[in-house]
């Protein structure tokens, strides 16, 4: 009986310490979703008011992507529809990724950022989408050195250069990978970014969609 009371005492002290620690050091588990869908946000930012041209005409996509997350079971997007997303407040459809990629990443306007969040060692170097910067939760939290426009800087400094409204599209390995969602949580809660989206089908989906891939340790493969 004495041991049980002592065990509860130890738990009590641990909980008090945890409470004080959590008060001193805030952490975040999952950021709120965006108030608008990516499509609505695109129309708002680009001022077109008409996103119809962004939707892939039926049958045009030669090799439809399955964005369904098998882990989610029911409630996921329709298999074979590349523009279906399971949570419109978090995920961006392929049609928009293509449009933003063509308008901003390929043109290097600096108004959109594509992030490869895959954390497994060596996968980014093996192959990534051309122009995608390698920022993982570890790289960001540990402030690893990165290179932006040829200038070496810390990962946190790099992300501080992103304006809140800038398009940020994150991908990881597709399927059930958490890396995109965790990184989005950090970017929204710690860096105040408001236009951060996850591409659910991840790297395999973008590769399958025909976006240019490249190897190497920098966005452009050098």
């Amino acid at each position: 009986m004495t041991s049980v009371m002592r065990a509860f005492s130890i738990i009590g002290v641990a909980m008090v310490a945890a409470l004080v620690h959590s008060w001193l050091v805030g952490i975040t588990i999952a950021a709120e979703g965006n108030e608008k869908t990516a499509q609505e946000r695109f129309e708002e930012l680009d001022g077109s008011g008409n996103g119809a041209d962004l939707v892939d005409p039926v049958g045009q996509d030669p090799d439809p992507i399955d964005q369904t997350d098998p882990a989610q079971g029911t409630g996921g997007p329709v298999v074979g529809d590349p523009n279906a997303v399971s949570d419109p407040s978090l995920h961006i459809p392929l049609s928009l990724v293509r449009k933003i990629y063509a308008d901003h990443i390929e043109q290097m306007t600096g108004e959109a950022l594509l992030i490869d969040a895959r954390g497994t060692e060596g996968v980014y170097e093996q192959g990534h989408i051309w122009g995608a910067e390698h920022i993982t939760t570890d790289i960001l939290m540990d402030d690893h050195p990165v290179s932006y426009a040829g200038v070496p800087m810390g990962a946190q400094e790099r992300m501080a250069l992103v304006s809140p409204d800038q398009w940020v599209i994150i991908y990881c390995g597709g399927g059930d990978c958490d890396e995109s969602e965790n990184l989005r949580t950090l970017l929204v809660d710690s860096f105040g970014l408001t236009n951060v989206w996850i591409f659910e089908a991840g790297y395999p989906g973008l590769e399958k969609a025909g976006l240019q891939t490249i190897g190497g340790s920098t966005p452009f493969g050098e």
């Binding site: 041991s3 130890i10 002290v13 952490i27 882990a71 570890d138 059930d176 965790n182």
Partner: protein
């Protein structure tokens, strides 16, 4: 204060020495794990989330409570103070860790690339959760249960406190 143990379960010298080994082994690993987890609670929170066992609000609590509990259990085990209670708690922690690792091995839809048992550090086993972690934790669980059963042995503060003469034992003038 009287000892918790009945006289027949009071450990001898050799067993006391073995119990010190058990206490220090469990305390060493738990303390090491706590140190690394407390360095970066955010990373530990993401690690717990990857296991897909707890809801978000419990992840937040666990990210701080688990390492602090590990730290206190390690400290009390090293000192041999309240050691049986600490051993019960360490056994509870280890059972929950074994359950968590076994669950990701069983559930094909959950992919956890890093155990995060010791934060970023890798000791004994690889980063990826697997049988090695289960065996490691089972051995530590056995050590904890030995301490819980026999107590911390003679080389402990519990034994010193129990052996100290009480005021009632003082010779009457």
């Amino acid at each position: 204060m009287a000892s918790d143990l009945p006289e027949k379960r009071q450990p001898g010298a050799l067993l006391s020495l073995w119990l010190v080994v058990c206490r220090f082994a469990v305390a060493g690993l738990l303390g090491f794990a706590a140190y690394h987890k407390l360095q970066d609670p955010q990373e530990f929170a993401f690690a717990i989330k990857a296991y897909k066992i707890l809801p978000d609000h419990l992840i937040h609590v666990s990210a701080f409570a688990i390492p602090w509990l590990e730290a206190l259990v390690a400290l009390t085990l090293v000192m041999g103070l309240w050691a049986r209670a600490a051993a019960f708690l360490s056994a509870g922690l280890l059972v929950s860790f074994i359950f968590a690792i076994a669950s990701v091995m069983i559930r094909a839809d959950v992919e956890v690339s890093e155990c995060s048992c010791f934060g970023e550090a890798v000791i004994i086993c690889d980063k990826e959760p697997g049988w090695c972690h289960i065996i490691q934790n089972t051995v530590l669980l056995a050590f904890s249960l030995m301490v819980a059963y026999w107590g911390p042995g003679r080389l402990s503060m519990d034994h010193m406190v129990a052996s100290a003469p009480s005021p009632d034992d003082a010779p009457q003038a």
